[in-house]
């Protein structure tokens, strides 16, 4: 009874806020307490997920509106039936596909798998302002939180830039350059990364994958649900370009060992040596800026970091 009421209240608060941010341009940050959700989701269930059949059919324009290639007309949905008289086959898998979405001037290069409340993405965005990054999160309301957070941050950045410009104009000097990125390079999607990573990303599209504080699935029976496994690592290798890095961090020592063991055993990966790991600016951000990282800090827990480099495939 009480739980129902609380849930209803939360939903009401979320909806009010989302309306405000979309219609009235409010740039106040969303409040996490209205978006809380059970920390676990079953990756094997079907859910009600939206994903493109092929990466070429992914419409990124709503996630990264500032990167849409402007001069292209959006095409009408179509399903082309192959013509029996056409001898030459299509040159791309998408040509027989129903939809040609708007193109972006850049591709997503960084994926945060299980991005949670988006702390890492928000911290990374100004650090790598010219790189598109995408958070993937399976929980609905947590995804909404990150969406709202990005909206609010973009609105804030825009407003700050406008204010600075107005001030500069009043003072008669040239305006200062806007803050790097202005959070235009961050996006979030509700997705089951264990199943549908190749629906979003093409072979070798990514340069970095972050796996931060994943669900440890303590019970041995649940180990198969872990985000790192011998077979899933092949999919990470597929979407990562050679030289790309998988970043992992956890506060659970056994899970750390598990991840290290499975990545080191996979022929497509090698562990990044510690000096190089510590020199990577992303590692510091991962340690301090993720929501879980902060929580572990408060509880004085340990943080275990491991990085793995995607190797070139051998000849075949």
């Amino acid at each position: 009874m009480g739980g129902d009421k609380i849930r209803k209240d939360r939903r009401q608060k979320r909806e009010d806020y989302r309306r405000a941010i979309r219609q009235d341009g409010v740039s106040e940050l969303p409040r996490k307490k209205f978006y809380r959700q059970r920390a676990h989701a079953n990756p094997f269930s079907d859910h009600q997920l939206i994903y493109p059949p092929h990466p070429d059919q992914m419409d990124w324009s709503s996630l990264f509106p500032d990167y849409v290639v402007a001069d292209e007309e959006p095409q009408q949905p179509r399903r082309q039936q192959p013509d029996s008289s056409a001898a030459a086959p299509a040159s791309s898998g998408a040509e027989l596909a129903p939809l040609q979405p708007k193109r972006l001037s850049k591709e997503v290069e960084i994926a945060d798998i299980g991005c949670g409340f988006g702390g890492l993405l928000v911290a990374l965005a100004p650090t790598l302002p010219d790189t598109l990054m995408l958070g993937l999160e399976i929980r609905v309301s947590v995804t909404q939180f990150v969406e709202d957070r990005i909206q609010a941050l973009r609105a804030q950045a825009r407003r700050a830039a406008e204010a600075a410009e107005a001030e500069a104009e009043a003072a008669g000097s040239s305006p200062p350059p806007p803050a790097p990125g202005m959070y235009r390079n961050v996006g979030v999607l509700r997705a089951n990364a264990m199943k549908f990573l190749p629906n979003f990303f093409r072979k070798g599209q990514l340069s970095k994958i972050f796996i931060c504080f994943p669900d440890p699935h303590f019970k041995a029976r649940k180990h198969k649900q872990r985000i790192v496994s011998a077979t899933l690592n092949s999919e990470y290798a597929y979407v990562l370009r050679p030289g790309g890095i998988v970043y992992t961090i956890t506060d659970v020592p056994d899970l750390h060992e598990w991840m290290v063991r499975h990545f080191e055993a996979h022929p497509s990966f090698e562990r990044v040596p510690e000096p190089e790991q510590e020199a990577d600016p992303c590692v510091a951000i991962m340690r301090t800026e993720t929501e879980e990282g902060k929580k572990v800090e408060r509880n004085k827990g340990q943080k275990h970091v491991a990085l793995f480099r995607r190797l070139e495939d051998p000849e075949w």
Binding site: S91, M194, S234
Partner: protein
């Protein structure tokens, strides 16, 4: 109660093997019955006992890894309560049987029939005990059981590597395992704990750590620093206590969590696998000068989540070469085109079309409508969806259209009483040729190659297993089917010769009597028609 129809067909040398429930019948090239292999129900009951009991038995194949709640599969009653007679081994029937609504878990039922290229080995899958059976075939239709291997999860489909020496088994959990066709003579206890050690080089697992591998844990993986609430701390305490107890138990007996035979995890999807195929393409390696080494093997796997994945073959199966993405519903069948068109892959499933791919490049080349032609079958004019169960291309059977030879492709859709015949054209399109109506729902088909009676003129015989339906007698191709209420005499195995009239299938006469196992109609349907169930429920909304 009805008899099992024939539901699987496999041509193997000059012999046709056809599965009926849990029996495998063999027929010679004139389709005369030769012999029958019967599933050893008694053994199955033993094998499904808890592992601890079975471990004492000297069975070299080893018991299945997991304890299963299985009634004797032979005569388990349909959940609708038909028949209360005791089962064959005299034990009273457990009332629990009714609570399982998937008969495939309970009843011995052959789920797949495969043959090596030389026809000397036949491989079968049974679902209830997750077992892969390998038989030696003497070339005349007699089978000798060579091995019986219970897999960690139920195999959904399997295929063989190009050299016909390794079985690739794709399972319900999404993993693909490699296992030798002929297992090593005597698996020692050592080889069970580390299968890699006893494995020949070709089978060395490319992924040494299996996803399902569970190391013996003697302490909880969480610690006081990783749990933050009072309740979780209490749970952690309890966990420690229970793990200590478990460790004490396990010290006495070996953990029976692994099958005791050579097997290697090659790759895996996080989805139920539905089909697997092996393709061969030119090697991308520039250095090889040996012409024999210029082609490479690839493993193509399809799953319920619309994916078709192309991985390298052994020993680089961990490398994903690409995906063939474009299906918008489950994929249930893969077929590499035969006859010099091996660069093409045909795939069917829950979509309205069958897709033609350049599988090596992951490019969609053509779509061939299936639903459209299913609607032309009498009684199915209002069909709104289709579930493809077979895509069968044969290079043995050529048709000539406009003076050029085309490969024939037979497509079967679930509960559609017709064969849909297509031609694979040189421009990589798949063109509908005709529908062949049948007096029942086709379940499986294969082509038996006969004697060559002249240059380039091989006689071929298409053999179809079907589930005779009461109503679907529109074609009236047989007289036998008109006998009212006598379903078991109705045609369940039919054939058509390439020399004969196209579109006319003839029932095989004098089929051996069914092995006594009768089954409720509802249960039978749940065993035979499993493909539509792969569709996600959300699709209906």
């Amino acid at each position: 109660m009805v008899a099992f129809p024939y539901h699987l067909v496999k041509a193997c040398g000059g012999i046709v093997f056809a599965a009926q429930g849990s029996d495998i019948h063999s027929f010679n090239s004139r389709l005369e019955h030769v012999s029958t292999w019967t599933y050893p129900h008694q053994h199955a009951a033993e094998a499904t006992r808890p592992a601890e009991e079975a471990q004492d038995s000297p069975a070299p194949e080893g018991p299945p890894a997991k304890r299963r709640r299985v009634e004797d599969g032979d005569d388990a009653t349909a959940p609708n309560g038909h028949g209360q007679q005791p089962s064959s081994n005299g034990q009273p029937r457990g009332s629990k049987a009714a609570q399982y609504d998937n008969p495939a878990n309970e009843r011995a039922f052959l789920q797949g029939l495969y043959a090596t290229a030389d026809g000397r080995h036949l491989i079968a899958i049974t679902g209830c005990d997750k077992t892969i059976w390998v038989f030696e075939h003497d070339g005349a239709g007699h089978l000798k059981e060579l091995s019986r291997r219970a897999m960690p999860k139920r195999p959904c489909a399997l295929t063989l590597t190009r050299d016909n020496r390794t079985i690739l088994s794709a399972d319900k959990f999404g993993d693909v395992y490699a296992l030798p066709l002929i297992p090593a003579a005597a698996p020692t206890p050592d080889s069970t704990s580390s299968p890699a050690a006893a494995t020949p080089a070709a089978l060395t697992p490319t992924i040494p750590l299996s996803r399902s591998e569970t190391p013996v844990i003697l302490r909880p993986e969480a610690n006081e620093l990783t749990v933050h609430t009072k309740r979780n701390l209490r749970a952690l305490e309890n966990q420690k206590i229970s793990l200590e107890r478990k460790a004490a138990r396990e010290a006495e007996q070996l953990e029976p969590s692994r099958p005791r035979f050579e097997h290697a995890l090659l790759l895996g999807h996080v989805s139920m696998l539905t089909a697997i195929a092996v393709g061969v393409a030119p090697s991308s390696s520039s250095s090889s000068s040996d012409p024999a080494a210029k082609t490479r093997e690839y493993i193509v796997t399809a799953d319920r989540d619309e994916h078709i994945r192309v991985s390298r073959g052994i020993p680089q199966a961990h490398v994903i070469e690409g995906f063939c993405l474009g299906h918008e519903d489950f994929v249930s069948r893969l077929c590499i085109a035969p006859g010099g068109r091996e660069e093409l892959l045909l795939s069917g499933g829950g979509d309205d079309d069958v897709l033609v791919w350049d599988w090596r490049g992951g490019r969609l080349l053509a779509r061939a409508p299936v639903l459209q032609h299913v609607k032309q079958v009498k009684g199915l004019e209002e069909a709104t969806k289709v579930a493809v169960t077979r895509v069968f291309a044969t290079s043995k059977w050529h048709v000539t259209t406009d003076g050029t030879e085309r490969t024939l492709v037979f497509i079967v859709a679930e509960r559609v009483p017709a064969l849909l015949v297509y031609e694979l054209w040189p421009d990589n399109t798949l063109q509908h040729r005709c529908n062949i109506p049948l007096p029942g729902n086709p379940l499986d088909l294969d082509v038996l190659e006969g004697e060559t009676s002249g240059p380039g003129n091989t006689s071929c015989r298409l053999v179809v297993a079907l589930d005779p339906t009461q109503k679907g007698s529109s074609s009236a191709t047989t007289e036998a089917e008109e006998e009212p209420g006598c379903r078991r005499r109705r045609a369940t195995l039919m054939f058509m010769d390439n020399a004969g009239d196209e579109g006319k299938l003839v029932p095989v006469e004098n089929l051996p009597a069914a092995g006594g196992a009768d089954i409720g109609e509802a249960e039978l349907h749940r065993l035979l028609y499993t493909t539509e169930a792969l569709r996600k429920l959300t699709d209906y909304e």
